[in-house]
Point group: C2
Protein backbone atom coordinates (compact mmCIF):
# COMPACT_ATOMS: atom_id res chain seq x y z
CA UNK A 1 0.00 0.00 0.00
CA UNK A 2 1.51 3.29 -1.06
CA UNK A 3 1.60 6.58 0.80
CA UNK A 4 -0.63 8.09 -1.90
CA UNK A 5 -3.30 5.43 -1.39
CA UNK A 6 -3.30 6.06 2.35
CA UNK A 7 -3.51 9.81 1.79
CA UNK A 8 -6.53 9.30 -0.47
CA UNK A 9 -8.19 7.16 2.19
CA UNK A 10 -7.47 9.77 4.85
CA UNK A 11 -9.05 12.45 2.64
CA UNK A 12 -12.09 10.25 1.84
CA UNK A 13 -12.65 9.62 5.55
CA UNK A 14 -12.23 13.33 6.21
CA UNK A 15 -14.83 14.21 3.55
CA UNK A 16 -17.36 11.80 5.06
CA UNK A 17 -17.03 13.42 8.48
CA UNK A 18 -17.11 16.89 6.90
CA UNK A 19 -20.46 15.99 5.29
CA UNK A 20 -21.85 15.06 8.72
CA UNK A 21 -20.64 18.38 10.15
CA UNK A 22 -22.18 20.25 7.20
CA UNK A 23 -25.53 18.50 7.72
CA UNK A 24 -25.47 19.44 11.42
CA UNK A 25 -24.83 23.09 10.55
CA UNK A 26 -27.69 23.05 8.01
CA UNK A 27 -30.10 21.38 10.45
CA UNK A 28 -29.36 23.96 13.12
CA UNK A 29 -29.24 27.00 10.84
CA UNK A 30 -25.61 27.71 11.72
CA UNK A 31 -23.43 29.63 9.25
CA UNK A 32 -19.98 28.02 9.66
CA UNK A 33 -16.74 29.57 8.43
CA UNK A 34 -13.27 28.04 8.16
CA UNK A 35 -10.67 30.80 8.62
CA UNK A 36 -7.28 30.03 7.08
CA UNK A 37 -4.08 32.08 6.78
CA UNK A 38 -0.37 32.24 7.46
CA UNK A 39 0.63 32.63 11.11
CA UNK A 40 0.01 36.17 12.32
CA UNK A 41 -2.17 37.38 9.43
CA UNK A 42 -4.84 38.43 11.93
CA UNK A 43 -7.41 35.61 12.20
CA UNK A 44 -7.96 36.05 15.94
CA UNK A 45 -7.94 39.86 15.71
CA UNK A 46 -10.60 39.63 13.00
CA UNK A 47 -12.69 37.46 15.32
CA UNK A 48 -12.33 40.01 18.15
CA UNK A 49 -13.45 42.85 15.86
CA UNK A 50 -16.35 40.76 14.56
CA UNK A 51 -17.52 39.98 18.12
CA UNK A 52 -17.61 43.69 18.93
CA UNK A 53 -19.81 44.41 15.93
CA UNK A 54 -22.08 41.35 15.95
CA UNK A 55 -22.33 40.10 19.52
CA UNK A 56 -25.35 42.23 20.46
CA UNK A 57 -27.49 40.82 17.66
CA UNK A 58 -26.13 37.31 16.98
CA UNK A 59 -25.04 34.27 18.92
CA UNK A 60 -21.47 33.30 18.05
CA UNK A 61 -19.33 30.26 18.88
CA UNK A 62 -15.70 29.52 18.06
CA UNK A 63 -13.48 26.49 17.53
CA UNK A 64 -9.79 27.39 17.81
CA UNK A 65 -7.09 25.30 16.13
CA UNK A 66 -3.45 25.67 17.14
CA UNK A 67 -0.29 23.59 16.99
CA UNK A 68 0.33 24.47 20.63
CA UNK A 69 -1.11 26.64 23.48
CA UNK A 70 -4.65 27.86 24.21
CA UNK A 71 -3.63 31.52 23.87
CA UNK A 72 -6.21 32.18 21.13
CA UNK A 73 -9.05 30.51 23.07
CA UNK A 74 -8.15 32.73 26.03
CA UNK A 75 -8.45 35.81 23.81
CA UNK A 76 -11.84 34.67 22.51
CA UNK A 77 -13.14 33.72 25.98
CA UNK A 78 -12.59 37.30 27.19
CA UNK A 79 -15.56 38.29 25.03
CA UNK A 80 -17.79 35.72 26.70
CA UNK A 81 -17.98 33.76 23.43
CA UNK A 82 -18.20 29.94 23.86
CA UNK A 83 -14.95 28.47 22.55
CA UNK A 84 -13.27 25.07 22.29
CA UNK A 85 -9.52 24.91 21.72
CA UNK A 86 -8.11 22.11 19.57
CA UNK A 87 -4.36 21.64 20.08
CA UNK A 88 -2.96 19.59 17.20
CA UNK A 89 0.37 18.82 18.97
CA UNK A 90 2.42 19.49 15.86
CA UNK A 91 -0.32 18.77 13.32
CA UNK A 92 -0.29 21.28 10.48
CA UNK A 93 -4.05 21.56 9.80
CA UNK A 94 -7.47 20.81 11.29
CA UNK A 95 -9.41 17.76 10.13
CA UNK A 96 -13.16 17.25 10.08
CA UNK A 97 -12.97 14.63 12.86
CA UNK A 98 -11.29 17.06 15.24
CA UNK A 99 -14.02 19.60 14.50
CA UNK A 100 -16.73 16.96 15.02
CA UNK A 101 -15.26 16.13 18.44
CA UNK A 102 -15.15 19.83 19.34
CA UNK A 103 -18.77 20.31 18.21
CA UNK A 104 -19.79 17.65 20.74
CA UNK A 105 -18.38 19.84 23.51
CA UNK A 106 -20.00 23.11 22.36
CA UNK A 107 -23.53 24.17 23.25
CA UNK A 108 -24.82 24.97 19.76
CA UNK A 109 -28.32 25.92 20.92
CA UNK A 110 -29.34 29.07 19.08
CA UNK A 111 -25.87 29.65 17.61
CA UNK A 112 -26.00 31.76 14.42
CA UNK A 113 -22.31 31.92 13.48
CA UNK A 114 -19.56 29.40 14.03
CA UNK A 115 -15.99 30.50 13.34
CA UNK A 116 -13.47 27.68 12.97
CA UNK A 117 -9.99 29.21 13.20
CA UNK A 118 -7.59 26.85 11.49
CA UNK A 119 -3.88 26.32 12.23
CA UNK A 120 -1.76 29.19 10.84
CA UNK A 121 -0.55 27.62 7.60
CA UNK A 122 -1.11 28.81 4.03
CA UNK A 123 -0.48 25.35 2.53
CA UNK A 124 -1.85 22.25 4.28
CA UNK A 125 -5.35 23.33 5.46
CA UNK A 126 -6.30 23.97 1.80
CA UNK A 127 -7.05 20.28 1.18
CA UNK A 128 -9.20 19.53 4.22
CA UNK A 129 -12.94 20.23 4.16
CA UNK A 130 -14.24 20.72 7.71
CA UNK A 131 -17.92 20.96 6.73
CA UNK A 132 -17.91 24.77 6.65
CA UNK A 133 -20.24 26.81 4.43
CA UNK A 134 -17.34 29.00 3.31
CA UNK A 135 -13.58 28.98 3.57
CA UNK A 136 -12.16 32.45 4.21
CA UNK A 137 -8.49 33.12 3.50
CA UNK A 138 -6.93 36.06 5.31
CA UNK A 139 -3.80 37.58 3.79
CA UNK A 140 -2.03 40.49 5.44
CA UNK A 141 -0.49 43.25 3.33
CA UNK A 142 2.83 42.62 5.12
CA UNK A 143 3.08 39.21 3.42
CA UNK A 144 3.40 40.76 -0.04
CA UNK A 145 1.26 40.90 -3.17
CA UNK A 146 2.76 37.76 -4.79
CA UNK A 147 1.35 35.28 -2.27
CA UNK A 148 -1.81 34.22 -4.18
CA UNK A 149 0.42 33.05 -7.05
CA UNK A 150 2.87 31.27 -4.75
CA UNK A 151 0.22 29.50 -2.63
CA UNK A 152 -2.60 29.10 -5.16
CA UNK A 153 -4.51 26.13 -3.66
CA UNK A 154 -5.65 28.13 -0.65
CA UNK A 155 -6.98 30.97 -2.81
CA UNK A 156 -8.58 28.55 -5.28
CA UNK A 157 -10.40 26.66 -2.52
CA UNK A 158 -11.62 29.76 -0.66
CA UNK A 159 -14.78 31.77 -1.39
CA UNK A 160 -13.67 34.89 0.44
CA UNK A 161 -10.37 36.77 0.67
CA UNK A 162 -9.81 39.24 3.47
CA UNK A 163 -6.85 41.51 2.82
CA UNK A 164 -5.95 42.51 6.38
CA UNK A 165 -3.59 45.13 7.86
CA UNK A 166 -4.38 47.70 5.16
CA UNK A 167 -3.29 50.36 7.70
CA UNK A 168 0.31 49.16 7.12
CA UNK A 169 0.15 49.78 3.35
CA UNK A 170 2.24 52.99 3.55
CA UNK A 171 5.10 51.10 5.20
CA UNK A 172 5.27 47.85 3.22
CA UNK A 173 6.17 46.82 -0.30
CA UNK A 174 2.71 45.63 -1.35
CA UNK A 175 0.51 46.90 -4.18
CA UNK A 176 -3.13 46.28 -3.30
CA UNK A 177 -4.23 46.21 -6.93
CA UNK A 178 -1.51 43.69 -7.83
CA UNK A 179 -2.47 41.57 -4.81
CA UNK A 180 -6.16 41.54 -5.76
CA UNK A 181 -5.34 40.96 -9.43
CA UNK A 182 -3.16 37.96 -8.53
CA UNK A 183 -5.88 36.55 -6.26
CA UNK A 184 -8.56 36.92 -8.94
CA UNK A 185 -6.26 35.34 -11.52
CA UNK A 186 -6.16 32.22 -9.32
CA UNK A 187 -9.87 32.39 -8.44
CA UNK A 188 -12.10 34.87 -10.34
CA UNK A 189 -15.01 34.16 -7.97
CA UNK A 190 -13.31 35.41 -4.79
CA UNK A 191 -15.31 37.92 -2.76
CA UNK A 192 -12.72 40.37 -1.43
CA UNK A 193 -12.80 42.55 1.71
CA UNK A 194 -10.09 45.00 2.74
CA UNK A 195 -9.75 45.36 6.51
CA UNK A 196 -7.64 46.68 9.33
CA UNK A 197 -8.26 45.16 12.73
CA UNK A 198 -6.17 48.02 14.12
CA UNK A 199 -8.21 50.95 12.74
CA UNK A 200 -11.46 49.01 12.17
CA UNK A 201 -11.52 49.80 8.45
CA UNK A 202 -13.68 47.42 6.42
CA UNK A 203 -15.02 45.55 9.45
CA UNK A 204 -18.59 46.86 8.98
CA UNK A 205 -18.71 45.59 5.38
CA UNK A 206 -17.43 42.18 6.44
CA UNK A 207 -19.94 41.95 9.31
CA UNK A 208 -22.80 43.10 7.10
CA UNK A 209 -21.92 40.29 4.70
CA UNK A 210 -21.88 37.81 7.61
CA UNK A 211 -25.35 38.98 8.68
CA UNK A 212 -26.73 38.48 5.18
CA UNK A 213 -25.13 35.04 4.78
CA UNK A 214 -26.42 33.94 8.18
CA UNK A 215 -29.94 35.10 7.32
CA UNK A 216 -29.89 33.00 4.15
CA UNK A 217 -28.61 29.98 6.13
CA UNK A 218 -31.81 29.91 8.26
CA UNK B 1 0.96 -0.91 7.63
CA UNK B 2 -0.09 2.24 9.45
CA UNK B 3 0.33 5.83 8.34
CA UNK B 4 2.69 6.40 11.27
CA UNK B 5 4.99 3.57 10.15
CA UNK B 6 5.12 5.00 6.64
CA UNK B 7 5.83 8.47 8.01
CA UNK B 8 8.72 7.07 10.04
CA UNK B 9 10.12 5.37 6.96
CA UNK B 10 9.79 8.57 4.95
CA UNK B 11 11.71 10.45 7.66
CA UNK B 12 14.39 7.75 7.91
CA UNK B 13 14.90 7.85 4.15
CA UNK B 14 15.02 11.66 4.31
CA UNK B 15 17.67 11.56 7.05
CA UNK B 16 19.87 9.22 5.01
CA UNK B 17 19.83 11.58 2.04
CA UNK B 18 20.34 14.57 4.35
CA UNK B 19 23.51 12.89 5.66
CA UNK B 20 24.82 12.54 2.11
CA UNK B 21 24.10 16.23 1.44
CA UNK B 22 25.84 17.19 4.70
CA UNK B 23 28.91 15.16 3.78
CA UNK B 24 29.05 16.86 0.38
CA UNK B 25 28.91 20.30 2.03
CA UNK B 26 31.70 19.31 4.45
CA UNK B 27 33.90 17.89 1.68
CA UNK B 28 33.55 21.08 -0.35
CA UNK B 29 33.82 23.53 2.55
CA UNK B 30 30.33 24.92 1.89
CA UNK B 31 28.41 26.51 4.74
CA UNK B 32 24.76 25.53 4.04
CA UNK B 33 21.75 27.20 5.64
CA UNK B 34 18.10 26.13 5.61
CA UNK B 35 15.90 29.25 5.81
CA UNK B 36 12.42 28.65 7.21
CA UNK B 37 9.53 31.00 8.00
CA UNK B 38 5.87 31.80 7.43
CA UNK B 39 5.00 33.12 3.96
CA UNK B 40 6.11 36.73 3.57
CA UNK B 41 8.40 36.96 6.61
CA UNK B 42 11.22 38.15 4.36
CA UNK B 43 13.39 35.15 3.44
CA UNK B 44 14.05 36.31 -0.13
CA UNK B 45 14.54 39.94 0.94
CA UNK B 46 17.10 38.76 3.48
CA UNK B 47 18.92 36.90 0.71
CA UNK B 48 18.95 40.01 -1.48
CA UNK B 49 20.40 42.10 1.36
CA UNK B 50 22.99 39.41 2.12
CA UNK B 51 24.08 39.27 -1.53
CA UNK B 52 24.68 43.02 -1.52
CA UNK B 53 26.92 42.75 1.54
CA UNK B 54 28.75 39.48 0.81
CA UNK B 55 28.89 39.04 -2.93
CA UNK B 56 32.18 40.88 -3.44
CA UNK B 57 34.05 38.60 -1.02
CA UNK B 58 32.23 35.26 -1.12
CA UNK B 59 30.78 32.89 -3.68
CA UNK B 60 27.10 32.27 -3.00
CA UNK B 61 24.57 29.80 -4.43
CA UNK B 62 20.86 29.41 -3.73
CA UNK B 63 18.23 26.67 -3.85
CA UNK B 64 14.71 28.11 -3.87
CA UNK B 65 11.72 26.09 -2.65
CA UNK B 66 8.19 27.16 -3.49
CA UNK B 67 4.76 25.58 -3.76
CA UNK B 68 4.33 27.30 -7.12
CA UNK B 69 6.10 29.81 -9.42
CA UNK B 70 9.76 30.67 -9.90
CA UNK B 71 9.26 34.27 -8.77
CA UNK B 72 11.87 33.95 -5.99
CA UNK B 73 14.46 32.38 -8.30
CA UNK B 74 13.93 35.28 -10.69
CA UNK B 75 14.61 37.74 -7.85
CA UNK B 76 17.81 35.89 -6.89
CA UNK B 77 19.00 35.55 -10.50
CA UNK B 78 18.95 39.35 -10.89
CA UNK B 79 22.00 39.42 -8.59
CA UNK B 80 23.89 37.01 -10.83
CA UNK B 81 23.77 34.37 -8.09
CA UNK B 82 23.48 30.75 -9.34
CA UNK B 83 20.04 29.49 -8.34
CA UNK B 84 17.91 26.38 -8.80
CA UNK B 85 14.15 26.62 -8.23
CA UNK B 86 12.35 23.62 -6.72
CA UNK B 87 8.58 23.81 -7.28
CA UNK B 88 6.87 21.38 -4.88
CA UNK B 89 3.50 21.49 -6.74
CA UNK B 90 1.50 21.72 -3.52
CA UNK B 91 4.08 20.08 -1.25
CA UNK B 92 4.36 21.91 2.09
CA UNK B 93 8.11 21.50 2.73
CA UNK B 94 11.40 20.64 1.07
CA UNK B 95 12.89 17.18 1.51
CA UNK B 96 16.54 16.15 1.38
CA UNK B 97 16.03 14.26 -1.89
CA UNK B 98 14.74 17.37 -3.67
CA UNK B 99 17.78 19.27 -2.44
CA UNK B 100 20.11 16.45 -3.55
CA UNK B 101 18.59 16.61 -7.05
CA UNK B 102 19.00 20.39 -7.12
CA UNK B 103 22.64 20.11 -5.97
CA UNK B 104 23.31 17.95 -9.02
CA UNK B 105 22.27 20.87 -11.21
CA UNK B 106 24.31 23.56 -9.42
CA UNK B 107 27.96 24.29 -10.11
CA UNK B 108 29.29 24.11 -6.55
CA UNK B 109 32.90 24.81 -7.52
CA UNK B 110 34.33 27.31 -5.03
CA UNK B 111 30.95 28.03 -3.43
CA UNK B 112 31.30 29.34 0.14
CA UNK B 113 27.67 29.82 1.16
CA UNK B 114 24.60 27.88 0.09
CA UNK B 115 21.22 29.28 1.06
CA UNK B 116 18.31 26.82 0.84
CA UNK B 117 15.09 28.83 1.02
CA UNK B 118 12.35 26.48 2.19
CA UNK B 119 8.61 26.67 1.42
CA UNK B 120 6.89 29.41 3.46
CA UNK B 121 5.42 27.35 6.28
CA UNK B 122 6.09 27.63 10.01
CA UNK B 123 4.97 24.05 10.72
CA UNK B 124 5.93 21.27 8.30
CA UNK B 125 9.56 22.08 7.34
CA UNK B 126 10.54 21.77 11.03
CA UNK B 127 10.77 17.97 10.83
CA UNK B 128 12.84 17.63 7.65
CA UNK B 129 16.63 17.77 7.81
CA UNK B 130 18.04 18.84 4.43
CA UNK B 131 21.70 18.35 5.40
CA UNK B 132 22.23 22.01 6.30
CA UNK B 133 24.78 23.18 8.87
CA UNK B 134 22.19 25.44 10.50
CA UNK B 135 18.47 25.99 10.29
CA UNK B 136 17.56 29.68 10.45
CA UNK B 137 14.00 30.67 11.36
CA UNK B 138 12.88 34.13 10.26
CA UNK B 139 9.96 35.70 12.12
CA UNK B 140 8.62 39.11 11.18
CA UNK B 141 7.45 41.52 13.88
CA UNK B 142 4.11 41.76 12.05
CA UNK B 143 3.35 38.12 12.94
CA UNK B 144 3.19 38.90 16.67
CA UNK B 145 5.29 38.06 19.73
CA UNK B 146 3.35 34.88 20.64
CA UNK B 147 4.44 32.84 17.61
CA UNK B 148 7.41 30.98 19.18
CA UNK B 149 5.00 29.51 21.77
CA UNK B 150 2.36 28.63 19.18
CA UNK B 151 4.77 27.04 16.67
CA UNK B 152 7.48 25.70 19.00
CA UNK B 153 8.98 22.91 16.86
CA UNK B 154 10.44 25.33 14.35
CA UNK B 155 12.11 27.42 17.06
CA UNK B 156 13.31 24.32 18.91
CA UNK B 157 14.90 22.84 15.78
CA UNK B 158 16.57 26.08 14.62
CA UNK B 159 19.96 27.43 15.72
CA UNK B 160 19.31 31.01 14.66
CA UNK B 161 16.30 33.32 14.90
CA UNK B 162 16.14 36.40 12.71
CA UNK B 163 13.50 38.87 13.89
CA UNK B 164 12.80 40.73 10.67
CA UNK B 165 10.84 43.90 9.81
CA UNK B 166 11.93 45.68 13.00
CA UNK B 167 11.25 48.95 11.13
CA UNK B 168 7.52 48.16 11.48
CA UNK B 169 7.70 47.91 15.30
CA UNK B 170 6.07 51.34 15.84
CA UNK B 171 2.99 50.27 13.86
CA UNK B 172 2.36 46.73 15.08
CA UNK B 173 1.29 45.08 18.31
CA UNK B 174 4.53 43.22 19.01
CA UNK B 175 6.83 43.54 22.03
CA UNK B 176 10.37 42.62 20.98
CA UNK B 177 11.41 41.61 24.49
CA UNK B 178 8.35 39.37 24.84
CA UNK B 179 9.06 37.82 21.42
CA UNK B 180 12.69 37.09 22.28
CA UNK B 181 11.74 35.84 25.75
CA UNK B 182 9.20 33.44 24.23
CA UNK B 183 11.73 32.21 21.67
CA UNK B 184 14.40 31.60 24.32
CA UNK B 185 11.85 29.83 26.53
CA UNK B 186 11.36 27.32 23.69
CA UNK B 187 15.08 27.16 22.81
CA UNK B 188 17.58 28.83 25.18
CA UNK B 189 20.42 28.26 22.67
CA UNK B 190 18.96 30.40 19.87
CA UNK B 191 21.32 32.98 18.40
CA UNK B 192 19.11 36.02 17.70
CA UNK B 193 19.52 38.79 15.12
CA UNK B 194 17.19 41.77 14.68
CA UNK B 195 16.96 42.98 11.10
CA UNK B 196 15.09 45.17 8.67
CA UNK B 197 15.53 44.38 4.99
CA UNK B 198 13.87 47.74 4.30
CA UNK B 199 16.30 49.97 6.28
CA UNK B 200 19.22 47.50 6.35
CA UNK B 201 19.33 47.45 10.15
CA UNK B 202 21.10 44.40 11.58
CA UNK B 203 22.23 43.09 8.18
CA UNK B 204 25.94 43.76 8.87
CA UNK B 205 25.83 41.74 12.11
CA UNK B 206 24.11 38.85 10.33
CA UNK B 207 26.62 38.91 7.45
CA UNK B 208 29.58 39.16 9.83
CA UNK B 209 28.27 36.03 11.57
CA UNK B 210 27.95 34.28 8.18
CA UNK B 211 31.57 35.16 7.34
CA UNK B 212 32.80 33.72 10.62
CA UNK B 213 30.75 30.53 10.28
CA UNK B 214 31.92 30.03 6.71
CA UNK B 215 35.56 30.48 7.74
CA UNK B 216 35.17 27.78 10.37
CA UNK B 217 33.52 25.46 7.79
CA UNK B 218 36.70 25.44 5.67
Amino acid sequence: MSVITIERKVLEKNDQVASRNRQLFRDQGIFALNLVSSPGAGKTSLLERSFQELQSSMKIAVIEGDVQTDLDAQRVARYGVPVIQIVTMGGCHLEAGLVEDALGKLNLNGVDLLFIENVGNLVCPAGYDLGEAVKVVILSTTEGDDKPLKYPAMFLNSSVLIVNKVDLMPYVNCDLNVLKGNALRVNPNLKIFETSCFTGAGISEWCEWLRRKDASAK
